[in-house]
Symmetry: C2
Subunit: 318 residues, 2 copies
């Protein structure tokens, strides 16, 4: 899937790159009609690249849907992609992986995670507007804990899609259903099933022992952040790091930054051993997970690590 996603992104961005040189309908293209009777929105070139990446993610997800029976592939994945074009880095993330830039020892987050907690309002809003997706088994409302039958008629705190705070409501029969979003932190789940709310695939995923599909709640849209490489000075040890949740479950951004910052300056810039680091960090995070003192961070969750390190002054390693 990672190769195919690359293909989709290449295809989409190449079309866009052609647009940047003045294709039909592109911003500033010579064939744009005169704007005498209507105004035309000026679209920055950057937005064409972002749109191309967004389209590539959508295309990839549709291709997985089409071909999943042919290749007999089930399941889904998180997706984190970097595109370098015209002096800018475009970091696109759909899922719970994470990208950070380390510049002069400072951490610059380049993505945010999509989980039942961070996407609560989107998920609740969808369920509120299309309640049939809940299959009469779930409620879109959030409560501080499971509501018990004896509490019907009593007042309890709740949170709806358009609230960030908590208010009281009188408990009704419907509130006894299992909540759409339940659990906290790493244990938060959508319909008691999945803990990541964006990504690719999972078209056949259902709530256990039911006919309720999860996919309508999963989005394949990435969040795309742009980093202008020309706007800053970069030293030989400045890097972009991409890694899956397995790493971030056990190490904080600052700990990863420290490991990288302590390791890289001790290597000759041309020393291929510089690249051993990423294997070190991966295995370090593996070891860390065996240790009791990190059990709080893991909270019963064990995931593998994929890790890429991109030196701004060197070649790509992964």
């Amino acid at each position: 899937a990672s190769k195919l996603l690359q293909h989709h992104i290449l295809e989409q961005t190449l079309t866009r790159a052609a647009s940047l040189r003045g294709g039909v309908g592109a911003p500033g293209s010579p064939s744009t009609p005169p704007t005498r009777f209507f105004t035309e929105k000026k679209i920055p070139h950057e937005c064409l690249i972002i749109g191309a990446i967004e389209s590539a993610f959508k295309e990839m997800d549709l291709q997985i849907e089409r071909e999943r029976t042919v290749y007999n592939i089930s399941g889904g994945c998180t997706a984190l992609v970097v595109v370098y074009l015209l002096g800018k880095l475009y970091v696109a993330n759909a899922g719970d992986s994470r990208a950070i830039i380390i510049r002069n020892g400072e951490v610059i987050p380049m993505s945010s995670e999509f989980t039942p907690e961070t996407e609560r309002q989107r998920l609740q809003y969808l369920a509120y507007m299309q309640p049939h997706l809940l299959g009469n088994e779930f409620t879109h409302l959030e409560f501080p804990r499971r509501v018990q039958r004896k509490e019907v008629g009593k007042r309890m705190l709740y949170r709806d899609f358009n609230m960030t705070g908590w208010a009281y409501k009188t408990i009704e029969e419907d509130d006894l259903k299992f909540p759409l979003i339940y659990g906290e932190g790493k244990k938060a789940r959508v319909m008691a099933t999945i803990g990541v709310t964006r990504g690719l695939g999972d078209h056949d995923l259902k709530v256990h022992d039911s006919n309720i599909y999860i996919k309508p709640f999963l989005s394949s849209s990435p969040e795309v952040r742009v980093y202008d490489l020309l706007q800053y000075e970069h030293g030989p040890d400045d890097v972009l790091i991409l890694a899956t949740d397995g790493l971030w479950d056990v190490l904080l951004n600052e700990e990863v930054a420290e490991a990288v910052t302590n390791f890289l300056p001790n290597c000759d810039p041309d020393d291929p051993h510089r690249f051993v680091l990423f294997r070190d960090i991966s295995s370090f995070s593996m070891e860390v997970r065996q240790q009791d003192r990190f059990s709080d961070r893991l909270d019963g969750k064990f995931d593998s690590v994929s890790f890429s390190l991109i030196l701004f002054h060197s070649t790509v390693v992964s």
Copy 2:
């Protein structure tokens, strides 16, 4: 409406304040059942106040809906409210007014504006999921300009609810409909009708010469920001400023801050003339609007100014 909203907020927050002292179901209340067989989410006290304010806005909007025929009141309004409780300021905004704090000459934004442009994705998502709200007259997609009939079958840039960038699509018959969101900056409108997307009232507002209601697209939910007064030192000239769009159309945050910062220190802290300032700023912004050199900022828009200035070391003035 402003007095009634105050009443709703008072009612809601007083109930919450009682909760803070340990009412039934409140966080840490003695009657909370043992958490042996289920986990209970810990809800910070702050979230109860935010929830109370959110509920008050909802209640106010429902009351306007109920009583609008009785009192023969049509129309709607923007709403910006400050609640001071237990050392914290809660600034709740639904609409295009703005609140800023000026602390030691520095501007701290305490709200963001809700317009067709800032709420594009919410509005498009709603229209996508409930297309009947568009009355067969509008399309939820955004295009850089009006699509012309001769362009059907050609490719054009567009933006959907789940995109922040722009991508190409082949124009279909449906894309000829008027866009849900059209116009830029101060001229941006929802269904060619309204330029503010949150607030109270407007229950009967329809698209001109049609039966299409605007209200489903308007939200009465405020964004609530919290400012901890105890976390910072405040000088005698530090203030919270609340004002409607009429002021911010002509003056930048920094210009208002400068006017306040230059004026206040010249008055004795007990001088009631300190409070003349807010009238000065209002009339200054009125004058400014007559001047040609500010016509860019106004872009054809003329709104009146409501202005409140709250000195942290003094009493409330408005």
